[in-house]
Symmetry: C2
Subunit: 214 residues, 2 copies
């Protein structure tokens, strides 16, 4: 499936650009664009931090402003922590990625804007976007950084395209043993089994005990 | 609601402990436990990195081993990237947090184990746990670090307890304008409006233009 472009707007620290590249590639995303990075481009700090995701930096497209970076996109999301006076639909990361994948299936070209570390996106960056994405953070500590924000968007994207099975929620009982109680029971049986010569031969005793405890 | 304890098992770098504290507090979680940290405790590198989430480190409970750290828990999850030979249910972060919140409502005490940065949890750490949590990462680059893993679990927890509205997915049309085309149209109207004296007074022209573009 086509994927959204992650567009870093005026990123400051090279380390954060590299960390964002890693976060993207953790979830199989590799289309990065960079708008007017503070310290120029290429950036050796970004390369050092990206390690296994360095290819994303090599292939990243560089733009002088937001307008040119999103020119070929048909639907753009702007990530922002705080509410804005601009009137736009606000989506959670999960809803936004579901929206994006539906649009991509219908032929859309998607871009997601991420602001500079210190101040975030400015209103002039957000104005041309179609939709705002806001991560539901702790209002007392809403300090997500660039790479964390990219990680969560990438994670929600991956959930949509991943075939990892979602197991059903287990039934809960109100009468539950504490792990310490289970540990006592297991230790009791382990000692009895040990006395009886169950964990034999000695070379395999440890792995047998681990399996028994499991 | 009661919350799960995040249990860092033999963490190595203080910076990663601090970053995990920040990740937890970003999503309103503040119950941290630490098992046998490599560099002792307290750890100044952890404090420096935690910044606004330093309280979690002050209040973190220290344990000598996993068994004592989970002794008072009734249900324990172990986070691990790779499949294990141990036979246990494997849940995604989303399913695991739904499971955990259902268990907490039924009176359970929850713990989530996070392994050391380099090698992850060992089989002997995982054996006493009830359930495995595996983040669906890119198989070519499964390199989530401790703080990233804590961030994703915290994020999924927050989604359950947050009242942020999930907007519905918008209908998509296959006939969509590119942002560059919209920009041309908007610039055209902006110029005509400017000629007509619409953006008046001059002191407010910029914010009016931003609103117009929005």
């Amino acid at each position: 499936m086509f994927q959204p472009a992650f567009i870093l707007v005026r990123p400051q620290m090279g380390e954060n650009i590299g960390a964002a590249a890693r976060a993207m590639w953790n979830f199989g995303l590799d289309h990065m664009r960079i708008v007017a990075p503070r310290d120029g481009w290429p950036n050796q700090s970004a390369v050092a931090m990206a390690s296994g995701a360095g290819r994303l930096l090599d292939e990243a497209q560089l733009y002088k402003d937001v307008t040119s970076a999103i020119g070929d996109r048909t639907h753009v999301y702007a990530t922002t922590a705080r509410p804005r006076e601009l009137t736009k639909t606000v989506l959670t990361p999960e809803a936004a990625m579901a929206d994006a994948s539906a649009r991509i299936r219908a032929g859309a070209q998607i871009g997601i804007l991420f602001g500079p570390e210190r101040a975030g996106l400015e209103n002039d960056d957000i104005a041309p976007a179609n939709t705002i994405i806001s991560v539901p953070v702790n209002p007392s500590f809403p300090s997500l950084n660039l790479a964390q924000c990219a990680l969560i968007l990438g994670y929600e994207w991956r959930k949509l395209v991943s075939d990892t099975e979602q197991f059903s929620v287990a039934e809960s009982s109100e009468d539950q043993a504490k792990i310490a109680d289970i540990e006592h029971l297991v230790s009791h049986y382990e000692e009895r089994l040990d006395e009886a010569g169950f964990f034999f031969p000695a070379a395999k005793a440890q792995s047998r005990k681990t399996n028994f405890r499991n």
